[in-house]
């Protein structure tokens, strides 16, 4: 094992950036990168600043209405006011916004649990076992990837109405399309294929069957890939909008994204500072998670390179 990992490492170290290794980097490059970096952040900055402004400062276009440039005080009450305006959930007595957060968290948890489980099991079969029609089935799984979501959006939604599954406005409808993901199967399978087969033979000799080998050897080894999948599923599901809007109509079954769009069409339409307060609360969990785990995101999309 030691020699096998040493070789690629040595290769990485001798790799140079094209043609620039000895010369000093042009300061213009930093200028361009800084401009783009600032442009990436300004919308977030504007969102956060606006979320604590007075309505008056928003309409009078003050970018920074607080000392030392102005004499307003930051209005953190905007968050409470926005939550109050979104209303109260009659079932639980909670503010509706918190109900939306709970729904989103529940949908996300179900989707992650299901897609990780189904992906790991299927990936093990595709990577480790031989069975009739294996290649055909694998190609079929990959083919589901190529199907545009638009194509199946309407029939899926029709399936949820009362003439068929009768799941409209329920949790099963909200999660159904996301319970399995070809991307996940592909990602985990790629990882499983890299694990040397000798390990399995050794485990066999120790008396381990497939199930024990999967749970005690393969899954722990594939932890980075599983974590990547879970994180990507987290952001995709947390940010999902269209499907949830289609299969829910009662406010207490909605998620934060759908709730935000609803708010934009009501009180948030005119009160920009309140709309931004809600947007901050929707974006915050994802941003925090991303900053702690960003390595897994870039590795996930570059090893499989899929899903825009």
């Amino acid at each position: 094992m030691a020699t096998a990992t040493a070789a690629p490492l040595a290769q990485v170290k001798t790799r140079h950036a094209p043609g620039r290794s000895l010369k000093r980097v042009n300061p213009l490059i930093y200028l361009v990168l800084i401009i783009v970096g600032v442009a990436s952040l300004i919308p977030f900055l504007w969102m956060v600043l606006t979320s604590v402004k007075d309505y008056g400062d928003v309409v009078s276009l003050k970018f920074w209405p607080w000392p030392p440039l102005g004499n307003s005080a930051p209005r953190f009450d905007n968050f409470a006011e926005a939550i109050r305006l979104i209303g109260v959930d009659r079932d639980t007595g909670l503010p509706m916004f918190f109900r939306h957060v709970l729904n989103t968290a529940l949908v996300t948890a179900i989707v992650i649990a299901s897609s990780v489980t189904t992906s790991v099991l299927a990936a093990y079969a595709f990577a480790q076992l031989d069975f009739p029609a294996k290649n055909v089935l694998f190609i079929l799984v990959l083919a589901t990837f190529m199907i545009p979501e638009e194509l199946i959006l309407v029939p899926r939604a029709v399936m949820m109405n009362k003439n068929y599954l009768n799941w409209y406005n329920t949790m099963p409808a909200m999660v159904a399309p996301f319970l399995v993901n070809a991307f996940g199967i592909f990602l985990i399978r790629q990882f499983f294929l890299q694990i040397p087969r000798d390990l399995y033979d050794a485990a066999r000799i120790d008396g381990a069957g497939h199930m024990r080998y999967l749970t005690t050897i393969m899954i722990p080894l594939a932890r980075p890939a599983i974590l990547t999948l879970a994180l990507l599923e987290f952001i995709w599901t947390w940010n999902e909008f269209r499907w949830i809007q289609l299969v829910t109509s009662s406010s207490n079954m909605r998620t934060v994204s759908v709730g935000l769009v609803g708010f934009l069409h009501t009180e948030g339409g005119a009160q920009t500072q309140l709309a931004m307060a809600v947007a901050v609360m929707v974006v915050l969990p994802v941003v925090v998670l991303y900053f702690f785990t960003q390595r897994y995101f870039t590795e996930g999309i570059t090893t499989t390179g899929l899903k825009g």
């Binding site: 079969a125 589901t144 545009p148 638009e150 991303y290």
Partner: protein, 306 residues
């Protein structure tokens, strides 16, 4: 034999879910598309919904035009900026990972939320972008509310009148494209960076010994060896733009020349409950996506170097 049964047992949950919520809906969607379908099948129309969509003067053709316009504007913008940034970041730069993390951030955050923010940045009255334009003593614009074509606007600014067919994409469409670029540049750049990392450093060393300059290195080593990555990024970007929905819905709801095919499908179903017509439109859009994918694969077979 036991191993076969075990393999199928492991595959069963995934395959059953695919069957129920992906494979079955394709067939069901085609069945729906052959009917006048409101809450249930009303009457069998055969290919009536398709004919209605394909009739000259239907909403489908302008929406296909808007979809292709969006794609043709967004793809070159996104790809060229992403490739440039990746190339710059691939140099020995300080704070490389900080730049990467920051530029990738827009892709991670909810499109609904960031599109809502951008809709406000574009606001003619209270938006940051018009404040900046006013600060520079330029004319503020109506951005997402502007139906006029960008070439018409430029010509008007210069005091010229253009014929209608030269109007160009609406300013609202261009504004949406700018937002899309902001979202996806970091994502595409990350893919390009991975591709650059796969090019062997020895190639550059050898070329430098032969006296190649920076441009020659890019033109004769980076560009050809990066072509598989470039092809892949172009492919997913084209497909992604052909399906774009969330941010357009939040920013314009399809008004002012931004009613792409995805928006039209959604509106027909969500606002008018025309499941049959919406399904027929979805099949037509998917056919376009498939056709574009095939054409791109053909082009790649000729141009991609390996």
């Amino acid at each position: 034999m036991r191993e076969h049964a075990f393999a199928y047992a492991l595959l069963a949950p995934a395959l059953l879910l695919f069957l129920a919520f992906t494979v079955f809906p394709i067939g069901f969607g085609f069945y729906i598309s052959l009917h006048n379908w409101r809450l249930g099948p009303r009457e069998f129309l055969g290919l009536g919904n398709y004919l209605r969509a394909l009739t000259p003067g239907s909403e489908f053709w302008p929406s296909l035009g808007a979809t292709l316009t969006y794609s043709l504007l967004a793809v070159p913008f996104q790809i060229s900026i992403a490739l440039t940034l990746a190339y710059l970041l691939f140099q020995k730069i300080r704070g490389k990972s900080l730049f990467r993390v920051v530029m990738f951030l827009p892709w991670v955050t909810s499109t609904v939320a960031t599109a809502a923010v951008w809709a406000r940045l574009y606001s003619p009255d209270i938006g940051l972008i018009n404040s900046v334009l006013r600060g520079l003593e330029l004319r503020p614009l109506r951005w997402l509310l502007e139906d006029k074509g960008v070439f018409t606007l430029i010509a008007n600014g210069l005091g010229v009148t253009l014929p209608d067919w030269l109007r160009g994409p609406s300013l609202a469409m261009v504004a949406v494209v700018i937002y899309t670029t902001w979202v996806f540049v970091g994502y595409n750049m990350t893919l390009f960076l991975a591709g650059l990392g796969n090019i062997p450093g020895e190639m550059y060393e050898a070329a430098k010994i032969d006296g190649a300059n920076g441009w020659q290195l890019f033109r004769h080593i980076t560009w050809p060896l990066l072509s598989p990555t470039t092809f892949f990024v172009v492919l997913i970007t084209v497909i992604g733009t052909l399906k774009a929905f969330n941010h357009i819905w939040v920013m314009t709801q399809g008004d002012n020349g931004t009613q792409t095919a995805s928006i039209l499908i959604y509106r027909q179903f969500y606002e008018f409950q025309r499941a049959g017509y919406a399904s027929a439109l979805a099949f037509l859009l998917s056919a376009v996506i498939l056709l574009v994918t095939i054409l791109q694969n053909r082009a790649a077979a000729e141009r991609v170097n390996y």
